[in-house]
């Protein structure tokens, strides 16, 4: 027993030496991008490194939006065999940074000027204690609405600008016998919608106070109750069959004209493109009403595990390749997200992509760029999941709005 515990802790302590199991001139990359488009995009990175004579040992573990990969990562770290680079999100990166398990990339960052081109809100998740510890790949923004243009046109609906417009549009669709909102009843999808609704209802300051600062007053406020009421309205306007549905099946409903809107991150675009739909012609993308100026984001990054005090050549090469404008552009065009640096040319992007880049730059400049609560960029995993519990219980009718607010305050305080 004692030996075992010693092993665990010493494995952590000895990370410095043990991380170098991956052979020289080779990077081992743990990630969960396994579906066609994503993997093809990542292959660009692999090719880039191989052209520099660096091998790529692939370690894909899909599932649960990275949950499985994080589980595997724990096992790998505990066994003293951490991969070179690991795809990670938000607070997970900071947690690992706090372990002292990650490499210091400041040298590369200084050379390439990351501090100037990466938005500050994003840097908050890529740096720990003033040190760059991971390389951001992209920025997904999550407060998008996707709409079927034909359905909207047929019912004389313009792009809604405010919550009231949105309510009117939804009611028009409902009256016309179209499912107004396509939604998949999974906790993270409920929370994605909640993110946007909370931002729209209370504005950026409220969002920051409630989700980022976890201020009890904001969490328990009437504004929060109003946000839950709006969630109830959305719940009333999804089809009966939403529960458990995969997000892409909900997207398919919009594509097929069975539903008018879907609130989903920018990755939904891939589904439209895959179905040969053209942005602007067949489908529309716009910010959730009332959040036109804000961008809630989540960003995929590759954290670099410490390989013995110094950043290895391969790691530096990988980090630099990830942040190179060419890869940022090539990858994000395929992925549907936007580059993590704001100085990349938008020439290769489509209409939605171009708008996304513009929005990001503007939001970053005006201090309207916020980490998405639903995607683990506002608060730590425990809190995020506690909020999930409440949002999802409310969405499924277990709590009324008032109870939900009370539960939310409790849940967040237990989870901290």
């Amino acid at each position: 027993m004692r030996k075992l515990m010693k092993t665990t802790t010493s494995a952590l302590a000895a990370l410095a030496i043990a991380g170098s199991v991956a052979q020289a001139a080779e990077v081992e990359v743990l990630h969960w991008w396994t579906s066609g488009g994503e993997a093809a995009a990542l292959n660009v990175l692999k090719g880039d490194l191989e052209s520099q004579g660096i091998g790529w040992q692939d370690m894909p573990v899909a599932g649960g939006g990275g949950t499985e990969a994080m589980t595997v990562l724990r096992a790998r770290v505990t066994s003293g065999d951490a991969p070179t680079a690991v795809q990670a999100l938000g607070f997970d990166i900071l947690d690992w940074g706090a372990q002292g398990a990650l490499a210091d990339l400041n040298e590369v960052a200084a050379q390439e000027g990351w501090d100037d081109v990466v938005p500050a809100a994003l840097q908050a998740f890529a740096k720990y204690d003033g040190k760059w510890i991971s390389a951001p790949v992209n920025v997904h923004s999550t407060n998008w609405v996707w709409a079927n243009k034909a359905v909207l046109d047929a019912n004389g609906i313009a792009v809604p600008e405010t919550w009231e417009d949105f309510v009117a549009a939804v009611e028009t669709l409902s009256a016309a016998g179209v499912t107004p909102i396509a939604h998949g009843g999974q906790a993270w999808q409920d929370a994605t919608v909640f993110d946007a609704v909370a931002m729209s209802t209370g504005g950026p300051d409220f969002y920051k106070a409630a989700f980022i600062d976890m201020d009890e007053e904001a969490l328990g406020s009437d504004t929060m109750k109003q946000a839950f009421d709006r969630m109830a309205f959305i719940r009333a306007n999804v089809d009966d069959n939403f529960s458990g549905r995969d997000w892409n099946l909900a997207t398919a409903m919009v594509i097929n004209g069975e539903a008018g809107f879907q609130m989903m991150g920018d990755w939904a675009k891939g589904e439209f493109l895959n179905a040969d739909k053209v942005p602007g012609q067949d489908f529309l993308c716009f910010r959730f009403p009332g959040t036109q100026d804000q961008v809630t984001f989540n960003a995929d990054q590759f954290m670099m595990f410490d390989q013995g005090g110094v950043v290895s050549e391969e790691q530096a090469a990988l980090a630099s390749a990830i942040l190179s404008p060419s890869f940022q552009s090539a990858f994000n065009v395929v992925k549907g997200s936007v580059p993590a640096r704001t100085d990349v040319s938008d020439a290769d992007f489509d209409a939605c992509g171009k708008q996304g880049m513009k929005d990001l730059a503007a939001a970053a400049a005006s201090g309207n760029l916020f980490g998405s609560m639903a995607h683990g960029h506002a608060n730590p995993a425990g809190v995020k999941n506690a909020i999930y519990d409440v949002v999802t219980a409310h969405f499924n009718g277990e709590y009324d709005s008032e109870t939900a607010v009370e539960e939310l305050v409790d849940a967040v305080s237990i989870a901290q």
Partner: protein
């Protein structure tokens, strides 16, 4: 199986018999249902599925999804299909099943034919070990494998599966050998056979049926394991289920359901094959031991 002399058939009227057949066939359909869903969807193009025709027969029949799942689907960054991972699974499953079965047989032999003080308690402890939730062993196991230098290797995975398969393989063989006549062991002792000779020459040749049960059980469990495979194998050495998971799961990518189902059936083929080939002996094996005191 030609064991009509041992069945417990009762005399029944025509109506009852018809009803029995009806119930049996209905349940057969029930059991086949998910397989039907998987089959028909693996044989149609994707738009037909997302278009809503998930339960109907394909309008356009295609084996494209099967080919894709096998050899060109994206598993990681490489579009390799499931093919290369098939061998990984085989090279993990075969030794793990063999070792846990042999150890189980030896344990069963010792626990029934060479009884000593506390043997029942020890067996109880081994049996209770079957119930440990795998989630809690993940982290300490990782530490141990790292300590042993077995992290990320097939040998490490084999070790894990042997350890957590031991309880059941011991249970099967113990119950089987419990009804194996002890006099045979004594006769062999007097004949001068050693401990291992008795096992090898007397017990093992009669253990066919229970070995089938044990192998089927272990093979299915180990082949279908995901958690250990994902955590303790290296990327290239990952077993089939991890590859299948990577094929099927994607949070923000396009979901090719037809390919997923084709892949799922492909990944399940070895276990299905084991069931079909060995299934004939399965009931006989259970009959011969594991369900008797």
């Amino acid at each position: 199986m030609a064991v009509s002399s041992t069945d417990t058939a009762i005399r029944t009227g025509r109506v009852t018999r018809t009803l029995i057949y009806l119930v049996l066939v209905l349940f057969a359909l029930f059991y086949l249902l998910p397989l039907y869903v998987m089959m028909v969807n693996s044989l149609k193009p994707l738009p037909e599925i997302t278009g809503g025709g998930m339960m109907s027969l394909p309008q356009i029949w295609t084996i494209e999804p099967w080919l894709k799942a096998w050899s060109t689907a994206q598993i990681g960054v490489e579009p390799t299909g499931l093919r290369p991972y098939f061998w990984n699974s085989i090279s993990m499953v075969v030794p793990a099943v063999a070792i846990s079965t042999i150890l189980g047989a030896l344990n069963g032999y010792v626990l029934t034919k060479w009884r000593f003080r506390f043997d029942t308690i020890l067996f109880g402890l081994m049996l209770f070990a079957c119930f440990i939730p795998f989630q809690i062993v993940l982290i300490p196991m990782a530490a141990v494998l790292g300590f042993l230098g077995l992290a990320g290797s097939t040998a490490g995975l084999v070790l894990v599966h042997v350890v957590y398969g031991l309880g059941f393989s011991t249970l099967y063989f113990r119950n089987y050998y419990a009804v194996f006549p002890t006099e045979l062991v004594r006769a062999a002792q007097i004949d001068g056979a050693s401990f291992f000779q008795i096992f090898w020459r007397i017990l093992l040749p009669s253990s066919g049926p229970i070995a089938v049960v044990c192998v089927i059980w272990q093979f299915t469990n180990i082949w279908n394991d995901f958690l250990f495979g994902a955590s303790f194998a290296s990327g290239e050495g990952a077993p089939m289920t991890v590859a299948l998971n990577n094929l099927v799961q994607s949070s923000t990518g396009v979901k090719e359901y037809n390919v997923h189902f084709a892949g799922a059936i492909l990944a399940a083929l070895p276990t299905l094959l084991v069931y079909i080939v060995a299934g004939r002996y399965f009931v006989r094996g259970l009959m011969a031991g594991s369900v008797k005191g």
